[in-house]
Amino acid sequence: MPKQQKSRVTSIRGWLGIPVLAALTALSGAARAAPPPIVIGTTISETGPLATDASYEIKGIKLGIAEANAHGGWLGRKLVLKYYDDKSSPGAAVRLYQRLITLDKVNLLIGPYSSLVTVAIAPLINKYHMATLEPGASVPSIYVPGNKWNLMNTADSTTYLHQLMPLAKQHGAKTVALLGLESAYSLACYHARLAQAKELGMKVVYKTTYTLQTDFSSIALAIKNAKPDVVLECGYYPDSVNLVRSLHGQGFAPQFLGETVGPVEAAYVKALGPLANGVFGNSGWWFNFKTPGNAAFISAYEKMFNEKPDYHAAAGFTAVQVLGAAVQGTKSVDQEKIRHWIVTHTVQSIQGPIQDNADGRTVGAVQDMVQVQGGVLKLVAPTSLAQAPPQIPYTGH
């Protein structure tokens, strides 16, 4: 009895199997017709102290991938983005990139936001020979022969606010106070500006480095007592806001106040209100750039995210542009070929021409200078691109 039953079941299965087999065959044919997607992996600081700036970068990457897919993808393959939140933590990023490379087996990689996190993942990238575009890692010391697989696609952090002290000197400024957050990019910026002050013959009357902290009242008081003409801070958004408030709280307004990264974020003006007016910041990209595709990028970004992009978004978008150019230029996702292509070609991106040297460092790109004027950011340097002349002095209201 059991045997008969089994035989009958087998028989039914056999009949049912014919259409199933046919369907599977059809599906298999369809699968052959649609090649597998190209999977691009990355992590981003969706949470933690870097989240404000990083959120723009991932949006730029998402837009770049959406635009590429709208034009048929690369090599006839659709693009898929796989990303994780690294929580602004270098340790978490190392674990997640290990996962992207070994478990998710992504085809291509884009680096995380910030030099701090990138420095941590660099050994892994180089161990697995993954050609990784770095839209958010601006420290030049990353791009050395030992890290040949890290490929920069933005201006380096030694150029942040490099126009401020020469401008101040033109207007008679002689003294400067310099501050640097204890983080890879900001220290590179801080040391570059220290060296620049020396070259310009400006006296550094106060300098300090600091850890992510909330109280700047003592530092502000020390700055007030040093009476610098220029205050220049290399930091991130939260400390930028705290410093401006503390300077104001101590009743001090330098003639020139510059802060990297923070002022370009919409949250900066919201947090400081009128105190933001007159503060200088830096940007590697701007709305009025006459670069190929820039107007379309701005329009598509605003449509997709209902906000204006910043230079972090442009850098993220550019990373996808450069990767796409390399994949299509080499007609492959072979890491060695892609790396070689990137360091031997110039890509006309929305940020301008991106050309990496043999170490993977972008050459010739610099950060421009912006200023908050009447609650709105305007490009003020270089003069050839300036939307408005710089407003001097900073008044703190």
């Binding site: 530092i219 008081l221 939260p238 101590q250 949250a267």
Partner: protein
């Protein structure tokens, strides 16, 4: 005059510390529970205040009573449903309550992320200073400090001069003895936790006008509050207020003369030194 300004800056910073730490201290003092969700409550209240004030254009200070009542009721309910059951677990109750509040902190941080996003935000409110001669008093810190001083004074009066406050202290010193005297210990704990959470929320309302806050700021705020109450004496309200003010002044001096890094690391160095020098101090005040 420089010394005086450094002292003023330090006291104002200390006032902020009292604000952040005293509510955690209340909960620990009465229940022996280190509320690891403390920072999350502050951050959530701060982010709600930002949303409220930017949406309505109204003063963030209007949120103070709302935050106290809503968070206080939610805290009391949470205590009754989640923490009170583990308080009956005998010797393991402190460890279990630590685990519960640790889990709660993650839920609240995730809630804040979903509701308000991950960005740091802050309100441009009370940014200027009052000046007396050449001394500057930051308005936001002054308001926070005055609120913290009032809160500490009211707490002191409540705990030492009222029947309900004395019942609360009795329950913290000897739960069994308190039960024998007819005190409903479970109710007392619920009130203490509710008041503590309510006060933490009011701290959040003021913190958002002092510094940028994001959901992930929660763990930093919890750590800071814990360091302060550890320095002041766990469960010792006056000790915590004094420690907060002294720490503020010490950081003010360190920041001015030694720079930002020294100021940042000072509380943790002091805590380590105190733990080594006076290990017996790290017991709940009775």
């Amino acid at each position: 005059m420089l010394a005086l300004q450094l002292l003023v800056n330090g006291i104002l910073l200390g006032g902020l510390y009292v604000l952040v730490a005293q509510s955690l201290n209340l909960i620990f003092g009465v229940m022996g529970v280190v509320n690891l969700a403390h920072g999350a409550v502050i951050a959530l209240a701060g982010l709600f205040t930002f949303w409220f004030s930017t949406s309505t254009g109204l003063s963030p200070l209007l949120v103070l009573p709302i935050a106290f009542v809503v968070a206080g009721l939610a805290g009391a309910l949470g205590q009754r449903l989640l923490i009170e059951p583990v308080m009956r677990a005998g010797a393991k109750s402190e460890l279990l309550s630590l685990i519960v509040t640790f889990g709660l902190s993650y839920i609240l941080i995730e809630l804040a992320l979903q509701l308000f996003g991950a960005d740091f935000v802050s309100l441009p409110y009370l940014q200027s200073s009052w000046t007396i001669g050449s001394l500057a008093f930051g308005k936001a810190l002054m308001v926070a400090g005055l609120f913290a001083a009032t809160m500490s004074a009211l707490l002191y009066i409540w705990l030492n001069r009222t029947i309900s406050g004395k019942a609360l202290l009795a329950a913290s010193q000897s739960p069994t003895g308190a039960i024998c005297c007819g005190i409903d210990v479970a109710r007392v704990r619920m009130i203490a936790f509710g008041v503590g959470v309510g006060l933490a929320a009011t701290a959040g309302v003021l913190v958002i006008v002092i510094m940028p806050v994001a959901p992930q700021t929660a763990s930093d705020l919890t750590l800071l509050a814990f360091v302060i109450i550890a320095l002041g004496g766990l469960g010792d309200y006056l000790g915590v207020a004094v420690a907060a003010l002294l720490l503020g002044v010490a950081q003010s001096l360190a920041g001015y003369y030694l720079g930002g890094n020294a100021e940042y690391v000072l509380p943790y160095v002091l805590l380590l030194l105190l733990m080594v020098a006076r290990p017996g101090r790290f017991k709940r005040a009775r």
